[in-house]
């Protein structure tokens, strides 16, 4: 009895707080973030006296009547559109209502800002290139956006070891161009490289196309500088390949999605940039053929293999339909059900060509592949890569995309696509590839070598019936097969409610303890990733999360 009364009171208070936080509904109704009650929820920035920070903070202000009086502020009035771009994620799926974007220029400024926010109990969303795919980089309500884009300097580079130290806000492509001049390359490559920032890459433990060659960021990041939730600057920015002196704190931040601290500086081990590159794309008749190709590829190519990707016919067709300059690449194999792309990178062209030739001969003679093409020059190299790399963009042009980035045991990887098709078909939402239906297309493609498939369901709109058909069905499917519901994209906002489909309760318990230790006020990127306990039970979404908790 007393317990229930307490609960009601809590709910009552929570609802009141909920009303303060959101002036009006800000997000499409399909996506309902339950009002979570936390110790200190986000509150709008208020009209207060001078900041406690000693450094002048540059703040961009947009319209509004708030006035942070008494500061050395460089203010600017910008259009609502620009503010909206910071508030909206790359896919246009998530949209926040923040009125403040701060773009500090140094770690000290970040520290001052965070300290101010900690004192005033203001929630912060750390933001990099805003290219994330799970809504982790944009506000849920009106958390202030702390964008690292102005911190983009290279601090140090050692051309002998290849270790580079730089600010977290440097764009990945810019960093790669810098390293190229000295014959090195960033050990990370992904589609968003023209816009994403290295800090964000590290905060999400980005995977990308070359994990099979360079490994994950957990191995190549040597040091991190971060600002903690109380404004302290954590310095783990060593440039040592080997350093076994205590707990490796930087590992906590890699993949922490901005929840434990704001990464402001990184040191990373760059790889030598090797000149001999080859790419070939194969047409295959079955999924098993991809598996056989993969085994043969690793045997023949050995250390020169730098990427092994795959995509299906549906994905290929969509890419060709939206290509600005579609090229007829396959003579006969263009209609095959599956395609695989193999890239080699090495230091000796003759050596690599020979290895590749023996692989191609083996694949053709054993009839593992039906057809294939080998790039003859740099332009063809780029076109062949486009077959795989432009699928994401083409999907976005075809309709609204529900993305599921999952890991599964290799033999079962494509099952998720087939199963999703029949599941949606049974609900009458999907009638087949290219046929009319709420869902136009279901495609699968990804990093075969890492056991990671990107399931894309393309619909006319982000319709609630599609959403509820897919979630948590897809996650349950993956979880039952002991896969991961998020291979590389992270939990962000999209999957935060499904963490119990990915982790044991006790694991989550330890994660929560670490979060509470480093950010007791929960001001860093709240409402996402691993959330503190005390989740309300009443909402629809929560019921699922809650019931899963109970199942276990």
């Amino acid at each position: 009895m007393p317990f229930r009364v307490l609960a009601m009171q809590r709910i009552g208070r929570r609802q009141k707080l909920f009303n303060i936080c959101i002036a009006e509904p800000t997000v499409p109704s399909f996506w309902r973030i339950p009002a979570r009650s936390y110790a200190q929820p986000a509150r709008p920035m208020k009209n207060e006296g001078s900041s406690k920070a000693s450094e002048p903070i540059r703040v961009r202000k947009f319209g509004g009547s708030d006035n942070l009086a008494g500061h050395n502020l460089e203010t600017q009035t910008v259009s609502q559109d620009e503010l909206l771009s910071y508030n909206t994620d790359w896919m246009g799926k998530y949209q926040g209502k923040s009125k403040v974007v701060i773009k500090p220029k140094s770690t000290e400024e970040v520290s001052a800002i965070v300290k101010y926010c900690a004192d005033k109990n203001i929630a912060i969303v750390p933001q990099g290139g805003n290219t994330g795919l799970v809504g982790g980089g944009v506000p849920v309500f009106d958390e202030i956006i702390l964008n690292l884009g102005n911190m983009n300097k290279i601090r140090n580079f050692d051309p002998v070891s290849g270790i580079v130290t730089c600010d977290a806000g440097i764009v990945l492509q810019v960093l790669d161009n810098y390293l190229a001049e000295s014959g090195y390359t960033v050990p990370l490559d992904l589609g968003a490289k023209g816009s994403c920032q290295i800090g964000g890459n590290i905060a999400t433990n980005a995977g990308g196309l070359r994990v099979i060659r360079y490994g994950s960021l957990r191995g190549t990041v040597l040091g991190i500088e971060a600002v903690l939730a109380d404004g302290r600057i954590l310095n783990c920015l060593k440039t040592l390949r080997k350093d076994n002196t205590g707990l490796d704190l930087k590992q906590l931040f890699i993949g922490s999605e901005g929840s434990l601290g704001i990464i402001t500086g990184v040191s990373i081990l760059a790889a030598p940039r090797l000149a001999a590159k080859n790419v070939a794309v194969f047409a295959l008749n079955s999924y098993q053929a991809i598996e056989q190709t993969f085994v043969k590829t690793r045997r023949h190519l050995g250390e020169i293999l730098s990427a092994f990707e795959f995509f299906d016919q549906a994905g290929h067709r969509i890419q060709q339909a939206h290509a600005t300059n579609p090229k007829k690449i396959f003579e006969t194999g263009g209609d095959s059900p599956f395609f695989a792309l193999v890239e080699t990178t090495g230091s000796n062209k003759d050596h690599d060509d020979e290895k590749l030739a023996s692989l191609l001969e083996d694949l053709l003679e054993s009839k593992t592949i039906v057809d294939g093409v080998l790039a003859q020059d740099a332009t063809q190299f780029a076109s062949i890569w486009e077959l795989r790399e432009l699928i994401t963009e083409a999907a976005g042009k075809t309709g609204k995309v529900f993305k599921y980035d999952v890991s599964l045991p290799t033999s079962a990887m494509y099952e998720v696509v087939d199963a999703t098709r029949s599941h949606l078909n049974s609900l009458g939402l999907y009638k087949g590839e290219g046929k009319d239906g709420v869902v136009k297309s279901v495609i699968g493609f990804g990093h075969f070598g890492d056991g990671n498939i990107h399931l894309n369901v393309i619909a006319d709109s982000y319709a609630p019936e599609v959403q509820s058909a897919l979630e948590p069905w897809v996650y349950r499917f993956v979880s039952k097969r002991h896969g991961s519901i998020s291979a590389e994209h992270g939990l962000g906002l999209q999957k935060t409610g499904y963490i119990f489909l990915a982790q044991d309760i006790s694991n989550v318990g330890i994660m929560r303890r670490i979060k509470h230790n480093l950010d007791p006020g929960n001001i860093l990127n709240p409402y996402k990733f691993v959330q503190p306990k005390k989740m309300p039970h009443a909402r629809t979404k929560d019921k699922i999360a809650h019931s899963i908790e109970e199942e276990k």
């Binding site: 000149a275 590159k277 070939a280 194969f282 090229k327 007829k328 690449i329 396959f330 003579e331 006969t332 060509d353 030739a357 191609l360 001969e361 694949l363 053709l364 592949i369 057809d371 294939g372 093409v373 080998l374 790039a375 003859q376 020059d377 740099a378 332009t379 063809q380 780029a382």
Partner: protein, 274 residues
């Protein structure tokens, strides 16, 4: 002149291995030329020439008997020939020269002439199709010089090539400043291929499919030395200086027209007096 009207045509396609079209060119460390320690591939205009030869054969299977690719270059140029073979050439000839030698268009034309005369014993060449220029020197001379040396007609900057019904001549549409010009050339003739505009190219060179690459391995590449042809490729031109163009300096923004006028005056630009 051809003796009999109905006979089969042999096409010779000279190709050149150049620095890849997509590579950013830099001056080499010693300042004597461009940095050649980068990716090389077939000259894109020659790719179009190979593709055109293959398409001509596809259109007139009964008429075109043989497509031979030839290159005059260092050992590595064999790869370029393999690409041509994978695209559909039947055989190839590699005239090997030392790495250090950078042949000039006149030398190449002389070598090609010597080769064509040599080939007369086996099967004479009826049509030479080559790229209008190489993207490394942009000379655009080899085709014309070859035609002159052989005393053959030439159809340069071709955007369309059609073999006539009696196989005695070709109708070539040429890209000229005023538009397009169609000429009829009696065989044997030299044709150099152009790109035309980005949107409507002469053709789109095909990708080398793996089955064709495998087949190409078995196709014959005849190796010759420049001495076999009796040609001297010693350069007749001497490079005096080699430098990068001056770097672009940034512009500046001006606040208003007065400031613009002031800056123009500063730069020494005066008004034109009418």
């Amino acid at each position: 002149m051809r003796p009999s009207p109905v006979s089969l045509l042999r096409i010779l396609v000279p190709v050149k291995r150049c620095v890849d079209y997509a590579i950013k060119i830099r001056v080499n460390p010693s300042g004597t030329g461009i940095d050649t320690n980068v990716k090389h591939s077939m000259n894109p205009f020659d790719e179009i020439a190979v593709e055109e030869a293959v398409r001509l054969r596809e259109r007139r299977k009964d008429v075109v008997t043989n497509i031979t690719a030839i290159t005059i270059g260092p050992t590595k140029s064999t790869e370029t020939l393999r690409t041509a073979l994978a695209m559909g050439a039947d055989s190839a000839i590699h005239v090997e020269i030392p790495d250090s030698l950078s042949p000039e268009p006149l030398g190449i034309a002389k070598a090609l002439k010597a080769l064509i005369e040599r080939e007369k014993q086996k099967e004479q060449v009826d049509l030479v199709i080559m790229g209008k220029q190489a993207i490394d020197d942009d000379a655009g001379q080899t085709g014309q010089m070859l035609a002159g040396l052989l005393d053959w007609p030439q159809a340069t900057y071709a955007s369309k090539v059609v073999i006539s019904e009696d196989q005695n001549s070709v109708n070539v549409t040429r890209e000229v400043d005023g538009g397009a010009e169609e000429i009829k050339c009696r065989l044997p003739t030299v044709v150099t291929t152009d790109l035309r505009t980005i949107h409507s190219r002469l053709n789109e060179p095909r990708y080398a499919s793996l089955p064709n690459i495998m087949k190409a391995k078995k196709k014959p590449i005849e190796k010759l030395s420049i001495e076999d042809l009796g040609v001297d490729l010693t350069p007749r031109l001497e490079i005096l200086k080699f430098q990068e163009p001056p770097k672009r300096v940034g512009g500046g923004k001006v606040a208003n027209v007065d400031e613009l006028v002031a800056k123009l005056k500063e730069a020494g630009i005066t008004a034109v007096s009418n």
